[in-house]
Amino acid sequence: MKTLALALASLILTAGPVAAQSHDHSSHTAPVQAPAPDPHAGHDMSGMRMAPAAAPAQTPAPDPHAGHHMSHGAAADPHAGHDMSGMQTAPAAASAPTSAPDPHAGHHMNHGAATADPHAGHDMGGAASAIPDIPTSADAVGGRLVQASPPPGALAGPAHAADLLFDPSVMAAARRQLLAENGDVRTTAVKIDALEAGFGDGADSYSWKAQGWTGGDINRFWWKTEGEGVFNGRLHDAEVQALYSRAVAPFWDVQAGVRQDFRPDGKDTTYLTAGVQGVAPYWFEVSAAAFLSTRGDLTARVEAEYDLRLTQKWILQPSVEAALSASDTPELQLGSGLTSVKAGLRLRYEIRKAFAPYVGVEWGRSFGDTADYARAHGGAADDTRLVVGIRAWF
């Protein structure tokens, strides 16, 4: 599983979404060892396209009724197959458009085909010969292209033409609905990332992890919950987060809100939380959040997972999660620094895209003082469990 190793390696390198995001904006370093760029490269296609274009001429079966009675002109364009690349390059060279691009751009190259064709209806050739290459912003130099304003007449009223013919208040209601139906899509999602049973050295355990949202594309109410416990025993811990989530970049949301922990030992804790969640390059699903408890303790959590599609339905999902603490917090049995790491590997089968049972292993280890706390409470510093569960969303 080279890919997997690579995945995990680059995951660590990525070290959080913000760094990952910067990939996205990194500039044109890319010196390419490609062969000397042929200025005509890519243009040849017009020549090549000639073949299909001119092809009808090869089938001189035109029936006298043939569509438009043009069979007599069936001779291929004398220029068919000529290398048009030079012609096409011209507009490219003439690119660097200004706010008032030449309306004729590209047209001159049509060697006479320009303007009213005297042979209208007879000229059977020349298909696809010289398509004017109209420059765009991508060809502009020296800043973003500013478009020409519409002429004054275009700004004449009324604002809404239909208001002249229909009741303006009825039209206004129809416009509101039009707005809602063309972009303002609201969704409510529930994603159960894991609902599983674990089997290891200790008691058989259960755990869950789920999240969901409701809202539009940019602003959403987001919630998350996770927890674990042992069968026939007590809940070990559970947490719920209620967040405001805002899309800030194509692949990233920032989230802020509160987190409430529930622990059977009564040490329930409330936190303020802020974080980011999104998709890093190479399709790593990443989230990172910091938590400030009402007692002033600062902790953080970074998670990442990756879906490796073995087939359309069998998907192997490696995941890692690291927890950190800024201070020694005996009440929560946390030492400062890296407190714990969890790594999982789950193999799921998507019976449907939104419903998949899985099996996997999860390994967890606590470090430093956190490990000592665990040992002091009769636990182990590391733990490996076989897990079986389902993943679903709706």
């Binding site: 990939h23 890319a30 390419v32 490609a34 760029p37 042929d38 490269a41 890519g42 296609m45 020549g47 090549m48 299909p52 274009a53 092809a55 009808p56 089938t59 569509g67 438009h68 009675h69 309306p103 085909a113 303007t115 209208a120 298909a127 696809a128 010969s129 398509i131 004017p132 290459d133 109209i134 765009t136 912003s137 991508a138 060809d139 800043g143 973003r144 500013v146 478009q147 519409p150 002429p151 275009a154 004449a156 033409a161 239909a162 013919l165 039209m171 129809a174 039009l178 707005l179 972009g183 969704t187 999602a189 194509p250 692949f251 390059p281 190479y282 599609r309 087939t311 359309q312 939104a354």
Partner: protein
């Protein structure tokens, strides 16, 4: 299997006046019955000048399963409207639904208030209301009509329009058939959109996999995968909604039902093909028969003979075929991601079938689809780039894209800025809704469309289209306008210039009779069929003076398309991507043409 008999025809004729009775004839209109002899004049048609249409609910059965459809006069597709250029038509549309409805006459030139877009041209048709559309028919050709409300179009609310020319038809034919292509899902379109919002790859069951890497069936190297992964883009994201949920229909018939059109060997048969799909672009072929394309979007073009063509959503193509043998032919309309196909048959007699070809391999997206097809124009001049944009046509080899990807260029991708705002006009919003900006969009009008790069027969390209008659307005454009088609695939957000329509965008403003050159730049890696209401625009494809007129143009991924527009229809007009879910997700705007002088009222 019933060829309409006299009684049925009589009943239908009577029903034309009182549309309510039409439900009696069953869900499929006569011209789309399982076996159709074609559109002869003795077959029932609704041809006005007074036409009554009733929008309602109907059960619809395909492949042995029954679902709920929105229909017109109880039919799916809706009745064929056959009219003549120069006549006036009065269409009374009655809404029997519990929700609003509307009918947009796609491609027809008419006063803006008759265009049928709620919130733009009129308020919509409320439940139990009748709205009367009345306008003169000023054109001829093959068109269609559909709801512009509540995604009803995805549930059956669409039908064909054929307008005969006032004079002699330059296209000669002995028989004609209308083929309405569509996509049917038992999922409600709002559920489909909901799933796409939560999981944009939900309907994609053809993604690259480790298995496909190991056995080579993905035709994509590890380095190429890494490059796509680095961009967080899916090289198999061809169509958002696929054959995983869609049954592809021809005239309301699934592949099993096999709609069959009859012919007599030797006849010239005109096929009027309409893509009334919500989300599906098709590659259309009839193995064993060459097709001569004579019309596109209702406008005559210089005949061009091909073996296959792509028809994007909302486009129409008329082709002439001349089967000479006494055998059946399969009409294949294969979704461009090869996830499924529509199938129909042309046969001399009912009951005959021909071989149905297997689905093709799923295509992989290329460098050109990423907006790098025009790379060679760029100062960076990456030589390797043009592999992807180069003619795949005559090179029989299969793996151009793979070659391009394994070239040194592909390795350097992550270092390139795939979202550089300087590659977009100053008025474009580069925010969450824009996951990429084409670095070097290429004009791909001469390139074979998606899924057809490597087929070894003749394929129609946009550059082949040449208007039969000279363009009327020969003025040079007085202004240029650049509009970017933008999106965020991961969030399923779509828009123009980085904005969803719901974000209160400025309309696109034209002065009456202004001649404008509009360039659409597709910053996304998906094709978008862009439709302008109330106008035809001239595709700038090299046929100066005979630029083909279109109402809908498919803008290939990462490409640019330029059209010249004479804004001669005063009023407000919708302008949008005709992939219904893209429109619903925000790829929509209003075009205003002012002043309103001359606007019929």
């Amino acid at each position: 299997m019933s060829i309409p008999n006299l009684d049925r025809r009589t009943l239908l004729r009577g029903a034309v006046a009182g549309g309510g009775l039409l439900g009696l004839q069953g869900l499929t209109p006569a011209w789309a019955q399982t076996v159709s002899p074609g559109l002869r004049s003795d077959l029932p048609t609704l041809n006005g000048p007074n036409i009554d249409l009733t929008v309602g609910h109907s059960p619809f059965t395909v492949g042995g399963r029954t679902g709920h459809a929105f229909t017109v006069n109880g039919l799916l597709p809706a009745p064929l409207l056959r009219m003549r250029e120069g006549q006036n038509v009065r269409l009374s549309v009655t809404n029997t639904l519990d929700e609003d409805t509307s009918i947009h006459w796609h491609g027809l030139l008419l006063p803006f208030q008759m265009d049928g877009v709620p919130g733009v041209s009129f308020p919509g048709i409320r439940p139990r209301e009748t709205f009367v559309y009345e306008f003169p028919i000023k054109q001829s050709g093959t068109y269609w009509y559909h709801s512009h409300s509540g995604m009803q179009e995805a549930m059956g609310h669409f039908g064909p329009i054929v307008i005969d020319p006032a004079g002699v038809d330059p296209v000669a034919y002995d028989r004609e058939h209308v083929l309405v292509l569509s996509d049917w899902s038992f999922l409600h379109p709002h559920q489909i959109l909901d799933k796409l919002k939560k999981s944009p790859g939900y309907f994609n069951r053809q993604r690259t996999t480790v298995a496909g890497l190991l056995d080579g069936s993905d035709r994509m190297s590890l380095s190429e995968r890494r490059m796509w992964g680095a961009m967080r883009m899916d090289p198999r994201d061809i169509l958002d909604v696929s054959g995983a949920t869609y049954t592809y229909l021809v005239n309301g018939h699934g592949p099993q039902e096999n709609w069959t059109g009859l012919f007599r060997p030797g006849e010239r048969v005109r096929l009027r093909i309409i893509n009334a799909s919500a989300m599906s672009i098709f590659n259309v072929r009839i193995p064993g028969l060459a097709m001569t394309v004579v019309q596109a979007d209702g406008e005559n073009v210089r005949p061009v003979e091909v073996d296959e063509f792509q028809i994007s959503v909302a486009e129409t193509y008329d082709v002439i075929v001349r089967p000479t043998e006494d055998r059946a032919y399969t009409i294949v309309s294969e979704a461009i991601d090869s996830s499924g196909m529509g199938r129909a048959t042309l046969a001399p007699r009912p009951g005959m079938t021909a071989e149905v070809p297997p689905l093709r391999q799923t295509p992989n997206l290329t460098m050109a689809d990423m907006g790098m097809g025009g790379m060679n124009h760029d100062a960076m001049g990456h030589g390797a780039m043009d592999h992807a944009s180069m003619g795949h046509g005559d090179m029989a080899g299969m793996d151009h894209s793979a070659q391009a990807a394994s070239s040194p260029m592909s390795m350097d991708h992550s270092g390139m800025n795939m979202r550089d705002p300087s590659k977009a006009p100053a008025n474009m919003a580069v925010g969450v809704g824009v996951d990429a900006i084409a670095m070097a969009p290429a004009n791909r009008l001469a390139e074979r469309p998606q899924g057809l790069q490597d087929v070894d027969h003749r394929v129609l390209v946009y550059a082949d289209l040449r208007a039969l008659t000279p363009n009327r307005d020969t003025r040079p454009p007085s202004r240029s306008l650049e509009i970017h088609l933008t999106g965020n695939m991961e969030r399923f957000m779509w828009g123009f210039d980085g904005r969803k329509f719901s974000e209160l965008v400025e309309p696109i403003r034209f002065e009456l009779n202004e001649r404008v050159r509009v360039t659409l730049v597709n910053d996304t890696m998906m094709a978008h069929p862009i439709h302008l209401h109330g106008h035809f625009f001239e595709l700038v494809n090299g046929h100066d003076g005979h630029q083909p007129l279109k109402h809908t143009v498919n803008v290939a991924p990462g490409s640019k398309v330029t059209f010249d527009l004479t804004a001669d229809a005063p009023g407000d007009w919708a302008f949008h991507c005709h992939l219904l879910m893209h429109m619903h997700a925000g790829m929509f705007n209003v075009v205003t043409v002012r002043p309103l002088e001359g606007a019929a009222s």
